[in-house]
Amino acid sequence: MSATGRRLEGSETQLLMKIRECLERLNEKMEVLIEVQKHSKREGAADLPDVLDVMTLLSLPDHLRKTAVTLCKLGEATADKVAEQTKRARAVESGYLNQLVLMGYLKKERRGRKAYFCVEKNEEAEK
């Protein structure tokens, strides 16, 4: 009986984890949609520079600059890792990182459950 109970408990936990994962993905997609809407309203958005060099870093608003500099230091990181460094909430960093992805400064790659952000490195791969 107790074994059955444990099995049930285990499957419930798994289900909850799956729901949480789906919700997190949904949340990220919604953040992206919100940002896309914001940018589509802005004229000249296509002219935004897409290189995260120091001049771009200087031109970013303070909150995004902090996230961008931290990611430059880490090279590649999840929102959790960035939040650890900036001492801001993970959800906040996730929003800022996605915003930087939309602006064309960062690349996002999903591996399993985790999303990794990195500074664009296509040319490195070409070498």
Partner: protein, 258 residues
């Protein structure tokens, strides 16, 4: 964990290189492992002071991704300091290299920033370097801002003329502040007679700190005897009792605790 110090200024000719070299020597003479890098690719100068005419690899090659940083570093521990370790990385002084570096695009500069940032791991964490000192180009340009972003502390050097003071003030507010860098300022080549009177010195310090919001560490008078010395040895190593070295020793301690 070691510390990266970028020595920067608004205008050229403020004494960045002289201060960088002697600051590095002072840390080494305290028994520390020090690495001094020339990041002034438009006007490389460390190679002339250390009398290096040729090098297999330069800092340019490291930033180009051609070689590891260890291939660039030259060891001057036995010749230029009494204790500790003293390594120097030189920038290529050839006209062709200077021209090539000034024509780099933004993507290259972005990658160069990544390579400078990675020195924290390769030199400070893995190779046990205690102090990494960047001698930078003056003003707001890619190589110097890359160095500032990669550093833990910025040591700004300013002269006494109004244009330098105003420019330095702008950089403190609009550059170092934006990147949340700890900053210390040295007023260099201050007229000797000002320093003769303690009251005048205090008054000037107060004025600079209050009116311009300067994070002033100290003021250094113009010592002509330093400029007369040759490049074979380092002034701080050979003249530990000189007032210039004493002032710089205090600056080194302040930066250590910043």
């Amino acid at each position: 964990m070691g510390k990266i110090i970028a020595v920067h200024s608004y205008k050229g000719g403020t004494g960045k290189t002289l201060l960088s070299i002697n600051l590095a020597a002072l840390y080494a003479n305290r028994g520390k492992s020090v690495c001094l890098l020339d990041l002034d690719f438009r006007a490389p100068s460390l190679q002339a002071i250390f009398k290096v005419s040729d090098s297999e690899y330069w800092m340019n090659d490291y930033l180009n991704g051609v070689c590891d940083i260890k291939k660039v570093l030259r060891d001057f521990s036995t010749t230029h300091v009494k204790r500790g370790r003293f390594f120097v990385g030189f920038a290529n002084p050839s006209t062709e290299a200077i021209r090539e570096m000034s024509a780099k695009d933004r993507k290259w500069e972005m990658k160069a920033l990544g390579r400078l940032l990675s020195l924290k791991t390769s030199l400070l964490n893995d190779s046990g370097i205690d102090y990494l000192i960047f001698d930078t180009s003056p003003g707001l340009q890619y190589s110097s801002i890359n160095a500032i972003v990669s550093a833990d502390v910025v040591l700004v050097v300013s002269g006494m003329d109004v244009s330098d003071i105003r420019g330095t003030q702008r950089m403190i507010d609009e550059l170092y502040g934006l990147f949340e860098k700890k900053t210390g300022l040295i007023m260099n080549k201050v007229f000797g007679e000002i320093l003769l009177s303690k009251n005048e010195k205090q008054e000037l310090s107060k004025k600079l700190m209050n009116n311009f919001n300067f994070p002033l560490i100290n003021m250094i008078p113009c010592y002509c005897d330093i400029l007369r010395t040759g490049g074979g040895t380092l002034f701080a190593t050979e003249n530990p009792e000189h007032p210039f070295v004493k002032i710089l020793d205090g600056v080194a301690t302040t930066l250590e605790n910043l």
